[in-house]
Assembly symmetry: D2
Homo-oligomer: 142 residues x 4
């Protein structure tokens, strides 16, 4: 794994500007390598569903942001990357608490970037609560 083209701080700042709906949820990028990103989302009361579990759309928003981070970590601050497909499997009801997302690149092509995100409770080695694959369309590069 090479050196990331953006730091965690740069990703967080850019997320708030570029993808504010997810960027403003409070996600922290805690590890950023080239094509590899770990983020955490502190718990907020309005994320919850009755039964004490975190709402699906919160997890989808976090996964999409982390996939975006995986792309940016490889390409640098590209403005025109957009999601074209996202598939999520919800595996277990997360307990109310911090969510961790581990994202990694599966393929970076000339047109498409495909990545994978694992969402967990209890940290990086905790319980897998959802699994996501997603595709970003990326601008042509020279």
């Amino acid at each position: 794994m090479g050196k990331a083209k953006m730091t965690a701080t740069e990703l967080e700042r850019m997320a708030i500007e570029e993808v504010p709906f997810a960027g403003n949820m409070g996600i922290k990028f805690v590890e950023v390598g080239e094509g590899y990103v770990v983020a955490t989302l502190p718990y907020q009361d309005d994320f919850i569903r009755p039964g004490g579990t975190i709402a699906g759309p919160v997890m989808m928003a976090m996964a999409d942001l982390v996939l975006w981070g995986v792309v940016m970590s490889q390409l640098g601050p590209v403005k025109l990357a957009v999601t074209t497909n996202l598939n999520i499997n919800f595996l277990r009801r997360p307990t109310p608490g911090e969510l961790t997302a581990v994202g990694q690149n599966l393929k970076l092509g000339q047109r498409l970037a495909i990545g994978e995100v694992s969402l967990l409770t209890g940290g990086k080695d905790g319980d897998l609560v959802a699994h996501v694959t997603g595709t970003y369309s990326v601008p042509p590069r020279s």
Copy 2:
């Protein structure tokens, strides 16, 4: 298409209680049949991405809520329905404005309910901006 087991007003109230993250986004259920739901989402400034398009997570949250409505319209107010899979294809960048979602049942089984949601700008006969399929796990029925 038979008579829906819940009205639009009942769905909206239940959404705010049961799935508040999406329920509080301002989605209005405007048509509810048995296994068929139309909803609209008035535009809000914080939904936007630079370039003037609506953020992906907003569309995913809306689609998930409409799928949930499709399930409720057939089963009545079941508390334990949870999404197990959601797949979204983003087709065109929506213009900043009201989103419309048209959801319909594909299959209601003993364990799983599968549905489809079209997201459009410019109303029900407008431009398709995203297409979603999703699965809900539903409690066993007698």
Copy 3:
């Protein structure tokens, strides 16, 4: 719906040359419009699973071929179109008999073509047994 860029006969011939694994399964294109394709697959004994249902991979192969037909019906005989994503929901066990697939374009862009396929038993207005969305990467056009 405009005029298709290829006829059913041309699609069948090209399928056998270009995508022989699916092309040789015996699929017949029975209706071809621009971005709209109907195909049928006569029943064969080796398609079956115990319990008398048609195997999932047979349905996936048919759906992929029909999506390819939807792309070709719009672009003409393009050699470099490849599937990048396919998502299938299996809804009901098909009875052993002819399968029908109805495919339609959801979006034809400069780089990606996204389509939807309904798989049915009992003809075009029969029972929906599976639902597919898929993406093809298409060569740049002038």
Copy 4:
């Protein structure tokens, strides 16, 4: 990882009986742990697409069979497990040659089993050519 409930030989025999369309493609199970399966598919001329790449439906059939193996490795020879959803991202064109599939369990629940399959050329540590997630519906267990 615990002891698998079926051996590679038992899986191969059952695949031919239960899921013959894929079972007869020549797939060999080469490693079977509890919730972990590695399989290989020797190259055959009719798998090919022009351009020298292996057809998508061959990869989908292999992935579905490996997911089925992952379920069986945990439950033993259950006859009523059926795929409910499969999502595949095609990443790179495989070269004509042996395919390897590495499948692992993501969650085994009371009703649903979700797994992930990586398809590679050049062996287990070779090039990732496709990534699959899939869901099986499993019979209730006591």
